[in-house]
Symmetry: C3
Subunit: 256 residues, 3 copies
Amino acid sequence: MLTLASDFGSPYPAAMKGVILSRTDAQVVDIAHDLPRQDPRAGAFWLRETLPYFPPAVHLAVVDPGVGTDRRAIALRVGDHALVAPDNGLLRPVARRLADRDAAAIDAFEITVDEPASTTFHGRDVFAPAAAGIHAAGVDRMAAVDLLSPIDLASCVDLQFPEPTREGDTLDGEVLVVDDFGNVITNIPGEELAGIESANIHGESAPVVDTFDRVGAGERLVTVGSHGFVECDVNRGRGDEAFGLGVGDPVEIVMG
Amino acid sequence: MLTLASDFGSPYPAAMKGVILSRTDAQVVDIAHDLPRQDPRAGAFWLRETLPYFPPAVHLAVVDPGVGTDRRAIALRVGDHALVAPDNGLLRPVARRLADRDAAAIDAFEITVDEPASTTFHGRDVFAPAAAGIHAAGVDRMAAVDLLSPIDLASCVDLQFPEPTREGDTLDGEVLVVDDFGNVITNIPGEELAGIESANIHGESAPVVDTFDRVGAGERLVTVGSHGFVECDVNRGRGDEAFGLGVGDPVEIVMG
Amino acid sequence: MLTLASDFGSPYPAAMKGVILSRTDAQVVDIAHDLPRQDPRAGAFWLRETLPYFPPAVHLAVVDPGVGTDRRAIALRVGDHALVAPDNGLLRPVARRLADRDAAAIDAFEITVDEPASTTFHGRDVFAPAAAGIHAAGVDRMAAVDLLSPIDLASCVDLQFPEPTREGDTLDGEVLVVDDFGNVITNIPGEELAGIESANIHGESAPVVDTFDRVGAGERLVTVGSHGFVECDVNRGRGDEAFGLGVGDPVEIVMG
């Protein structure tokens, strides 16, 4: 199995699929091609929340504002999974989660393609051939793939999500992503809300509930979303608009 | 084969695919993930017009404004097809169509998952495991799937599309859905227009034609669409804007 | 393998997949369903730049403003590839490229379906059955498919992209497409920029660089894109807005 994620929209991912399917008979599964554009941190969030549900696979992900510069292309092996992407931190959160879950080591490789056909579409000319090569060889035989050479994981770009802070009843966090529904997903772990019935977000109160339909249509709510983080949402509406919050904004929650 | 439809946008369906592909080796086919958001009636229309073209399969569909409340999760068996969704009527029109076409009975089951991982993403935590379980067991062995228990179909939420009325030359119908092209699809059966050359929609006349290019670019037309219903369209333009019609609006057509 | 491209948006392609998968066990791969709407020239560009990356396959493409009129439905065979589409030129550029690359002839067939179920959705009722029939029979046995009869390629609608002209240091070209990133792709071959460091587009200068990140975020650039053509782009921004250019616009580039 080979999964494919990018911020490429359409139809660029189709050329990547053609390259892959010309080189290996993988079952190709699209994760998303509308990852937030040129935002490796948001992409890293979605990869971490999605890829661990898959059976062993080669996962190819491209959000690559530095394409064609000297940023490296890398592949990581974590247990039965291989991850392929530009070296901009995109893979680190999901690699950590897989390594923790499976008590597996993370091995890193640099991908080198001599004179790729383009300087602007490495998804097609560098990453797709590398991912197909890994799939064809098998994840356990990655080290034998021509395009790969072992490197030190510590030399790869890291990416950490910011940690929230708590002082008394006040939590200070940040918006990590806004999803397609307009749900505002913060970096505050859901456990922080245990036993709390309402929260004050930037001066306005909202009930803390376990699901959307506990409040009326169009009403604001605070809940623990499916990723385990505190979300600021609206039932049958958009939380980002109602709370006036976007990616990267600080979120102050006063509990009680 | 396992088909997947939702109003989840992106990338939530990817987590569902991961759950499914971890449990069964189904060929997964996306129907759409941009079904009209939190509108079970519109979703029910598209499922009815799409799923019957498929060979025998497990069909998973999630448009679920009541997620996490006490609405049930259900599965229906109609001949060789299994249908999995929240119990909000989403499946009833397609189940009726399959039952009529194949002269098959409809058997109903409740899906029970103990303590799902989230209260807001039952697509991943309830429906995907149930659909994968049915696929792994086989549709003819649904009754043996752990998560399912038989229930009375009559206890499930029904959903009927409104019926148009006719008085003399005047048809009174309703807009069921507007498609991606802006075509306005009503609930009026195409046969009503047989032999008619023009129709008066809310006071303005439009020709009744068999296809778009019978009128000039940008001009309004009335036709029988590919679903068999009367549509109010514009050649190479948007009917919803030209006719000022949206989902749920009444449509009065005077023939002649 | 069977690839699927259209301007149908969602969920119409799902009905086509159902028809195909009911008739043949093809691996179905989506190219794109948001090809520029009812614009065969832009669709022809994307097909030419995408399909040649695929292994031998049946390629079905529908951008069809003339659906239901007397425009023909056709299939082309080029080496191991079959191409199925309305006869409006959509297939000609990709067929020429495949024929040149593989030194293959192009054989043409007309598709005839008696009384298709609709006059407005031939993707489902004409093209999908034809593509499935070709896949089931095998591309090398296309001539034996019931729905196909041989025709003269010269009788099919041709579609040529406009050629740019050069006079001294001035290149006069045209915008062929604008991609999802807002990159403005012209018909000017990249070789024209060899050795040039800056270009003057409609009176304003922009650097000629090999990739986006050579200029600051939000700054304009001219580059040779992944298709080999001159593009007018913005690093981490939209070239179409910054240059004020859209599909079909003339582009005058003064080099130096």
